[in-house]
Amino acid sequence: MSFEVRQGEILGLIGPNGSGKTTLFNCVSGALAPTAGSIRFGEQEIAGLTPDKVCHLGIARTFQIPRPFRKLTMLENVAVAAHFGAAKRSSETEARRRAREILDLVGLSSAPGALTTTLGAGGLKKLELARALATGPRLLLADESLGGLDSSEMAGAADLLRRIRRELGITIVWVEHIMATLMRVVDRVVVLDHGEKIAEGGPRDVAEDPRVVEAYLGEKVVLA
C-alpha cells in the first residue's frame, strides 16, 4: 500500500469493514509495526516507532469507540492529553489552560468539571477529538467521528473538522462510512478493499468509479 497525505488537506479514507483502514491507522500511530515498507512524516521515518514517540512528533488519532477516563472530569481528561501528549511536557497549570482552550474549540466548555459519564454520543465524539487535539498534532487521524451520531450532530462534527483544519492548520485523514457528509468535507479520497488501494482521487471521481461502487458504496451515490 502506497499513498501520500498532502500538507493541509482533509483526506477521506474509505473501504468496507475489514478492508484495513484501522490497521493503517495502527501502523501510522505506532500501535502496530508494519512488516515491510516505510512511513514518512515530513522528513522523518516513523515506521516501527512506539505510539508515544509518534504522538510527540505530532500525529494524534481518535478511536471509533471513545474510552475516556471515566473517573476524571472532562477538563482533566483533556489536560492529561495536553500534559503527556505534547512534545515538551508542560506544567499542570499550562496543561489545564490548554485543555480549556480546546474544550472551547470543540464546544464542550459549558461544564468542564463534569464527569464524562454525563456525555451522550455526540459529546463523547467531541471529547475524543479534544483529547487528540490537546497533544498539539500537525496530523490528525480521525476514526469514524460520525459513528452513532444523528443528522444534526453529524453536521456539527463535520463543521468541527473543517474548523480544526482552518483554525489550527492541522492536516486530517478521516476514516468514515457516512458518505453524504464525508464527501462534502474532504479534498481527496483513498479507497481500500481487502488491504489494497483500489481508488484515489477527488470525491466526485471516486464516487463514480465502478470498482468503488461495487466494493463499497453498493449503489450509486448522488453528490450534492
Binding site: 474509505i14 473501504g15 469493514n17 475489514g18 452513532g148 450532530e153 462510512h177 466494493a215 458504496l217 453498493g218
Partner: protein, 234 residues
C-alpha cells in the same frame, strides 16, 4: 402482538420516555426514528425488561409484561439485539450462538435453530470456529442478530443495526433483515439511517425528546417535509 400504553420511564431523576403508546402487529416491521437522546434505546430496554417503566403498561400477545424481568421476556418470545452488537468477542461464533439458546425451551431446539441461522447467514457457518472478535463489523452484526434468533423469538428488537457499517454492508444487512422478516419474525427497529430503514419497514414512529411526535406508514413519513430535512438528510 406488542402494546405499550402510556409508558413513562427513566433513570434516577431523569425521565427519558413520556407517556408513550405504541403497537406492533404480528408479522409487521416497525421503525422508531429520532435524534440521539430522544429515548429510542430506553424504549427498547423497557420492552425487553432491562428497565421497568415508572408508569403505564406493556403487554405481549395479550399477556401483561409490565415490570417482568428480562429473562422472562426472552422466554415469552422477545429478543433484543443491543446497540453496538455486544457479542462475546473472546468466544467463538458457535459459542456466541449457543449463548443465545441458553433458555430451556431454546436449548431443546438448539440444533434446528442453528441450522436456521446458518441458512440465513452462511458466513456465520463458515466462521463458526473463529473468535467472534475477529469478525468484521458487518459479520459481527449478523452474529448479534443470529444470537437473538437462537432464543426462538417471535419479536426481534434491533437497536441501530447499521452503526459503523460500510454503505455496501448496510444495504446487505438490511436485505438480510428483510429475509429474517420474511421468515415470519416480527421486527421493531431503532435506526439513525432513516432513509434506508424507511425502505425496510411498514410503519414508523418519530420519537423526539421522549415524546412520540408522529406515527404513520413508512412511505407517508418519508414524504413529511420536516422529517426529510431533519433526519433523512436530503
Amino acid at each position: 402482538m406488542l402494546a405499550l400504553r402510556n409508558v413513562t420511564a427513566g433513570y434516577g431523576a431523569f425521565t427519558a420516555l413520556w407517556d408513550v403508546s405504541l403497537d406492533v402487529a404480528a408479522g409487521e416491521a416497525v421503525a422508531v426514528v429520532g435524534p440521539n437522546g430522544a429515548g429510542k434505546t430506553t424504549l427498547l430496554r423497557v420492552i425487553s425488561g432491562m428497565i421497568a417503566p415508572r408508569s403505564g403498561s406493556l403487554a405481549f400477545e395479550g399477556t401483561p409484561l409490565t415490570g417482568r424481568p428480562a429473562y422472562e421476556v426472552v422466554a415469552r418470545g422477545i429478543a433484543h439485539v443491543p446497540e453496538g452488537r455486544r457479542i462475546f468477542p473472546m468466544l467463538t461464533v458457535a459459542d456466541n450462538l449457543k449463548m443465545g439458546a441458553y433458555l430451556k425451551t431454546a436449548r431443546r431446539a438448539y440444533a434446528e435453530s442453528l441450522e436456521r441461522v446458518f441458512a440465513l447467514f452462511p458466513v456465520l457457518s463458515e466462521r463458526r470456529r473463529q473468535r467472534a472478535g475477529s469478525l468484521s463489523g458487518g459479520e459481527q452484526q449478523m452474529l448479534a442478530v443470529g444470537r437473538a434468533l437462537m432464543s426462538r423469538p417471535k419479536l426481534v428488537l434491533l437497536d441501530e443495526p447499521s452503526m459503523g457499517l460500510a454503505p455496501v454492508m448496510v444495504l446487505r444487512l438490511f436485505d438480510l433483515i428483510r429475509r429474517v422478516r420474511e421468515e415470519g419474525y416480527t421486527i421493531l427497529v431503532v435506526e439513525q439511517n432513516v432513509r434506508q430503514v424507511l425502505k425496510l419497514v411498514d410503519r414508523a414512529y418519530l420519537l423526539e425528546a421522549g415524546h412520540l411526535k408522529m406515527e404513520g406508514r413508512a412511505e407517508a413519513l418519508a414524504e413529511q417535509d420536516f422529517v426529510r430535512k431533519a433526519y433523512v438528510g436530503l
